[in-house]
Amino acid sequence: MTLTNELPSKELLDQLLAARAYKKWPIAKLISLFESALPEKQQQRHQLVKFMSENPTQFPKRSRVIGFTGTPGAGKSSLIAELCQTILATNPELSIAVLAVDPSSQVSGGSILGDRTRMHNGCKQSHLYFRSQASNLELGGIAQTTFQATRLLRYLFDFIFIETVGIGQSEIDIQHMSDQTYLVMQPLAGDQIQFMKCGIMEIPDCFVVNKCDEEVLARTSYYMLRSALKQARIVELDARDDFRKSAKDNIFLTSAHTGMGIPELANHIVSIENKQQWQNSEWFYLTKAITQDYGRFGLAILKKNPQIMRLADNDSLTFEEKSAMAQLSIQQSIL
């Protein structure tokens, strides 16, 4: 399709300005537009992103994107709910959007998105926005729709928290979008560490051992995790074996139930800076889409085209423009 560079329609602009003032329904409608699978929505997305990126005085925000990954049952939702409350209570000027991904049924394609039940207290706060998303049967833990929603929300909120679907080792896509990734775990036993050592352990920047409702649990978990990390030489360790200083090792011991460790983790998150080059995530999702449509064959064509390969670092074109160029390049080479 050909993209045009007109301004967004009046209706869309109104929606966008209302969304910037944290009006919930306009935000919701715009997210739906970014999530939409209808081809004609690409043009509108392109216009909106172009408008926001070219008007930095009106849209000065660039969210810091925080990923929360880890197995189901680790208490990610409750932890995120507690963190949102703590951060917003101490930093009322900040705003947070939460995207929570739950799995879709292999049989019907439908889903039950239950994370919202944990956010019960947050639904009336104007600076907090919560959206449930279905994984849409994608592997990788976060959906294409999550990437798309983030393209919008990063201009509107100070933070985007992404809760991944939580199926262990396939939770790897998040690293391409987030400025910081936390692996949330339950208090551990030795064997669990062993199997976690490979794969997913290499993704996160930090570890959160949640549900440390008792000090003994916290202490044991810290020592177990620390020794595993040491062995695997994944991170530099500074805390000199003192579990009370575990944050120095980027290990956080928390309990959403007792509130332990929550303020420390909240402070840590607030101090995170933009690290991710956003064009990286766009390139990742672009190549992912190409692979889905054309397989490795398509990818090989892109790699032979230096003009396309330069798009990986390009920060001025929109995702739609880059996608269109990539598509065109493949089609030309096939014809």
Binding site: K24, W25, I27, A28, K29, I31, S32, E35, S36, A37, L38, K41, G73, D102, S104, S105, V107, S108, G109, G110, S111, I112, L113, G114, R116, T117, R118, H120, C123, K124, Y129, F130, R131, S132, A134
Partner: protein, 674 residues
């Protein structure tokens, strides 16, 4: 002495005798304390032998009538209680030292017991004469009924406090009543009923043991105070076997786990309310027969006969019952006990190889499940990690699937559905009970009056003491009784403790469940969903939640599971939400339809709240709302006028019909917007 015949029951002197009947109860209470008091007195006059008090949802969930969340519920499913002054009217002219009072109260049971004690003290009644039961089973509240207030650990602490207090102060009181009743209503199989309620009893007794507040002898007596509240469904032979299995398992647990030597304290004492889940809205008169058959399961076998029985009314699937409907059910009990020869014989089934084998089978399966839960950390853990809840949802889903496919026959519902209309429904009141909406004023006025007259300094002191005791972890009975005397309100008592203990939202159990329905209706609805995806660019989204205090979540859970099966993305938001919560979630999630479920009779008030919240967002025209639950037919036109697109009641049991209907509503609303 004459020769003993095997078909005779002998008394202590060896003479042939007959048994005394069980206690006849009717679960009752509505409108306000004055109306409920009149009802109790007239029920006792009709030959009822015990009181079973139904409280309204605000009282059960720890709110005073004048709080926003309480207002739609005042007097709906039971009597509203705010202060000791209310209790004085509720028990006016009732002899507290003679009657046996059963209170269906859980999250706030310590508070209601404190009011009962304070009233007895003000009347100069010896506390040792008080007899009765506070239901006080929080595990089943987390699993099925939803009127919990505090988190699991603190809830168990309050129960243990009550056992500690009652044993020596009001020794004839049953501080808690382990309930399998609600588990069956939530879909439990007989094995699940046995195992989960016994796990509940074990959890409570283990906690008492851990506190170590009793001598060995007192602990035995304490075990003897544990009573049960059981359900009985249509498979009445199996239900009878379940009761025999209960009796035997409890005896074994008391002996083996707790070393109780005196057989008297190992006896499985239980009351029954027979099953309401299987009662149908279609051809409701058939329910009268169902209730009789369900009663047989818990009365036929002398060794496993209930101590007290309460029966639902034939029209419970339509609305709350009228006094006449309850009288009709009471008469059934009286006929069974006094006109038949049921009470003349020893146990009819001892020695039957069929029964023995069935009982052994149930016991073995139940023991296996009990062990499984104990091995994975016990009852509290199985609440926190959602294990028991998910098992119940699975059973309920299987049951619904079987009714939907016709594998399980329900007469008048999925077989022999054509029939002559019931003349019972043609009375001027439509055959159902209505709470007078004006009656709440009396309750609110009384509350205001008490608040004006009480010593507010004293109130502050008593509440401060309650908070201090809660923080210190001491027994909270003394502070609660003092609060009762000082005219503290139900809401004030509960809020004070919420401040210390926090609140809790248990796992919903619906994630990952799937239906076993494959039929043409499913194909139809999935085709509609595909069509939606093509035109709208995404799956249809529905938010499902329960506004208000009513915690009966089965309906909402089934709709969620069915919608996922049909291909919806379902945002399941759980129970105890305000109308504003639900609207906010619908807005943030940009859903295509809102589905809410209500069983408490407060639908008119709550729907008003919901639409005013939608209006505030400017979304009242854009997001269609559907409603399910126990909704009387005569309310439906009003609800549709308010803007509800469709009302589903228990007769709409075919889940895929419902889904097709919802998809049609969703598509119609999309076309309207265009």
């Amino acid at each position: 002495m004459s020769e003993h015949k095997a078909h005779q029951i002998l008394d202590k002197e060896g003479k042939a005798t007959i048994d005394r009947p069980w206690i006849f109860r009717t679960y009752a209470g509505h409108t306000n304390v004055r109306a409920s008091n009149e009802l109790y007195r007239s029920n006792l006059q009709k030959g009822q032998t015990g009181l079973s008090i139904a409280f309204d949802l605000a009282t059960q969930c720890g709110y005073s009538s004048d709080e926003d969340i309480a207002r739609p519920e005042i007097g709906k499913v039971g009597v509203p209680i705010n202060t000791l002054d209310d209790f004085a009217i509720l028990f006016d002219q009732l002899a507290m030292d003679e009657i046996n009072t059963s209170m269906t109260i859980n999250g706030t049971s310590m508070w209601l017991l404190s009011l009962y004690i304070a009233l007895a003290e003000e009347r100069g009644i010896d506390l040792k004469t008080l007899q009765g039961t506070t239901q006080n089973d929080l595990i089943k509240e987390f699993l099925a009924r939803g009127t919990y207030v505090f988190p699991p650990d603190q809830s168990i602490k309050l129960i243990v406090d009550m056992y500690e207090y009652c044993l020596n102060n009001i020794p004839k009181w049953n501080p808690s009543n382990v309930c399998s009743y609600h588990l069956q209503e939530a879909g439990a199989t007989p094995v699940q009923e046995l195992s989960y309620s016994l796990i509940t009893a074990i959890t409570v007794l283990d906690a008492i043991k851990e506190r170590n507040c009793f001598s060995e002898e007192d602990f035995e007596r304490c075990v003897g105070r544990v009573s049960f509240f059981v359900n009985a469904g249509m498979r009445f032979i199996e239900e009878m076997c379940k009761m025999r299995a209960f009796t035997e398992l409890w005896d074994e647990i008391c002996q083996q786990r707790y070393g109780v030597k005196n057989p008297k304290y190992r006896r499985f004492r239980y009351g029954v309310q027979v099953n309401s889940l299987g009662l149908t809205e279609e051809q409701p008169e058939n329910n009268a027969w169902r209730i009789i058959i369900e009663s047989l399961g818990v009365t036929l076998s002398r060794n496993a006969r209930c101590r007290a029985l309460q029966l639902p009314a034939w029209n419970e699937a339509l609305s709350l019952p009228r006094p006449w409907d309850q009288q009709w059910s009471l008469r059934l009990q009286q006929i069974l006990a006094y006109e038949t020869d049921l009470l003349e014989y020893p146990d009819l089934f001892d020695g039957s190889p069929v029964i023995a084998s069935k009982v052994a089978d149930l016991k073995a399966q139940a023991l296996e499940e009990i062990q499984k839960i104990l091995d994975s950390g016990g009852g509290i853990e199985a609440i926190k990690n959602g294990y028991m809840k998910s098992q119940l949802v699975i059973s309920q889903v299987q049951r619904m699937s079987k009714i939907n496919t016709g594998e399980q026959v329900v007469v008048g519902k999925n077989r022999w559905t054509d029939g002559i209309d019931s003349p019972l429904l043609s009375a001027a009141d439509g055959g159902v009970f209505k709470v007078d909406p004006e009656s709440a004023a009396e309750t609110l006025q009384a509350l205001e009056e008490t608040k004006r007259q009480r010593d507010s300094e004293k109130v502050e002191q008593c509440l401060a003491q309650l908070v201090a005791d809660a923080k210190a972890g001491t027994n909270l009975m003394a502070a609660s009784i003092a609060c009762a005397h000082a005219r503290v309100t139900t809401g004030e008592w509960a809020h004070a403790l919420r401040g210390v203990f926090g609140e809790y939202r248990p796992p919903t159990g619906v994630e990952g469940q799937s239906l076993n329905i494959e039929n043409d209706k499913l194909k139809d609805v999935r085709a509609k969903v595909e069509n939606f995806i093509e035109t709208q660019g995404r799956r249809p989204r529905i938010v499902v939640g329960k506004p208000g205090l009513d915690g009966h979540s089965n309906g909402a859970e089934m709709i969620s599971v069915a919608a996922r099966h049909a291909g919806f993305d379902v945002i399941y938001f759980g129970i105890r939400l305000s109308a504003v919560d639900i609207v906010q979630s619908a807005i943030e999630e940009d859903v295509d339809v809102i589905g809410i479920s209500l069983l408490s009779g407060s639908h008119n008030e709550i729907i008003d709240q919901l639409f005013s919240a939608l209006k505030e967002e400017g979304a009242e025209k854009s997001i269609p709302v559907i409603l399910g639950g126990i909704i009387p037919q005569y309310d439906i036109p009003t609800l549709m006028d308010k803007g509800i697109k469709q009302v589903f009641t228990p007769k709409d049991y075919d889940l895929m019909d419902i889904m097709n209907n919802i998809m049609d509503i969703v598509m119609a609303s999309k076309n309207e917007v265009v």
